[in-house]
Symmetry: C2
Subunit: 198 residues, 2 copies
């Protein structure tokens, strides 16, 4: 009975969810079948719809079911300001946390030559066309603060300079509410180097 | 963009999974759509099949896609020994951990008069018919060690006695490898009361 049968297959497939191991998958399967078949059906149907219909925005490459995402299609957004992020989830995070009113451009990764990820894979040719043809005045580089994220930010900064567009990097330093005692030395060094006169 | 649209609905529906909050649901949705559409499709399709086809075994009430589950249908299992458990997941746990070779009977809950769960909801009429008509010699009561689980075990024990069938309760005590220092007093009291001569 254990790993064969429909129930075993369901448990197996639930493990494709990030962070879900065999025990959690088992708990999820039993929960859905015993307590929430309605919810499970809605989940499965929405998931199928999402796989079929959600693609990339033709302008900013974020995930959307439309040709142009809601942000790019919104005339109230400031199209002269473009924030560069690594993942579509970063767009959500920034939208939820900040009052940024510009547009986005999603790289779907970062430069990583060893993994075969170059400018082409990140859509930088598309970004360059936008830099050349549209009214972009500033790129806000919000790639992650990893070695590869920094390298990607630097590369795109150079691209912006080539097209006489201003580039800025989001600030890195001590998180709000963070105590110095618990901050790693790299962040602290960054915070000191980036200090501002008050 | 935030909570509307297909992506927002997918994130919402993922929250019907146990232990999945808004952040995890968001991470799952982006992971499936960006990295594992194949897996997501397989998951959705298997989930729909499971909802449609998985029901209860006519004999032991566990979850199965067949009229009779694999355990009940296996002629090598000892049908004179029946283990009573609260949930179908308990069957899996016991199958994975022990060498129990009897059959099971799944209550899908425990006696809880305040919540309107009586003997009828737990299928005890069906169990009583089995006690009266089949060759059951022993019921192993493996309901959880909660107040309600104990009450349920006691109730079913009385049922067994009425039909001259032996009833046993699984042992409760100090877990294997457990240190006394970290055991709660209720378990320790139980372990002392249930001590055995060696």
């Amino acid at each position: 009975m254990r790993d064969t049968g429909l129930l075993g297959r369901l448990i197996q497939h639930l493990r494709c969810l990030p962070g879900v191991g065999p025990k959690t998958a088992q708990r999820m399967a039993f929960h859905l079948l015993q307590k929430d078949r309605e919810g499970a059906r809605a989940l499965a149907e929405t998931l199928l719809q999402a796989i079929d219909r959600i693609g990339q925005c033709s302008r900013c490459r974020t995930l959307t079911e439309k040709p142009l995402c809601d942000i790019c299609a919104d005339p109230a957004r400031d199209s002269s300001l473009v924030c560069i992020v690594e993942n579509p989830s970063d767009v959500w995070i920034i939208e939820q946390a900040t009052v940024f009113k510009g547009l986005y451009f999603v790289l779907h990764g970062r430069l990583s030559p060893l993994d075969g990820i170059g400018p082409g894979e990140l859509g930088l040719d598309q970004l360059e066309r936008q830099l050349a043809t549209s009214d972009i005045k500033e790129l806000v580089l919000a790639t992650n603060s990893t070695v590869e994220g920094e390298a990607t930010a630097f590369f795109i900064g150079e691209l912006a300079r080539k097209h006489h567009v201003q580039a800025s990097r989001i600030a890195h330093g001590v998180p709000m509410g963070g105590e110095l005692e618990f901050i790693d030395s790299g962040t602290l060094l960054h915070a000191f180097n980036g200090r501002r006169t008050i």
